[in-house]
Symmetry: C2
Subunit: 134 residues, 2 copies
């Protein structure tokens, strides 16, 4: 997930970013097992939540209004719910999501792009839910 035109103050606040990641992980129905958050000098935050056999990471560049998020999830999770929480919480006005399947595949099978969406102002619904949100 790529978030552009975000609120720079949010992107530079490690406590706000951690709270937002936790809300996103919970909305995606994942289980948080550990958290590691680091402010960068002079700007920006790197944060990783370790989830059950998966993770949610963020890198922010407040000076550019940009944040880069990876959600690796499995099973019954609802990543589109995490996307919405993050998009709103970062106050992003432009975002992009690439969804890739991966995991145990037979020889000859492959990672596949299963979704690629871009969202412009007031179109946060562009990344549609594939399951009901909690």
């Amino acid at each position: 997930m790529e978030f552009h035109d975000c609120d720079g103050a949010v992107l530079d606040d490690v406590e706000v970013i951690e709270a937002l990641l936790r809300r996103a992980a919970e909305a995606a129905r994942t289980t948080i097992v550990a958290s590691m958050m680091r402010p960068f000098d002079p700007h920006g935050v790197t944060g990783v939540l370790v989830l059950s056999e998966s993770h949610l990471s963020i890198h922010t560049w407040p000076e550019s209004g940009y944040a880069s998020v990876d959600l690796y999830s499995c099973g019954e999770s609802t990543p589109e719910a995490a996307y919405r929480i993050l998009s709103q919480g970062l106050r992003s006005r432009r975002s992009e999501v690439l969804m890739v399947t991966r995991g145990l595949t037979p020889p000859g099978a492959s990672m596949k792009i299963v979704g690629h969406h871009r969202s412009y102002p007031a179109q946060h619904e562009g990344f549609e839910a594939t399951a009901a949100e909690p």
Copy 2:
């Protein structure tokens, strides 16, 4: 990066996996700033190295001989060097790499798949270097 047909004993050894991730991060010319490693019950390891404004993560499923790795890197790094270290260290006989560009893009621009390679036995050179290995 997807690694199939790996050595299950390697995939279940948190110390071996951490050492391997560190070697891979160094080979990729990235700077390690923090490490978080967790064994899973009953099998498997999740590990994340936070790098300078980037990260390297792994999830392993020893019972299936499978490991899933993400390397988010920027600037002058050489991710293909990390791939080779990991492929050899996990003793993977089948692997796959998807490379995606991301970052500050103008409206209308996009994340792009810039490489998609599959490697079969004795074809670890399938993911060719784009820069000289250290």
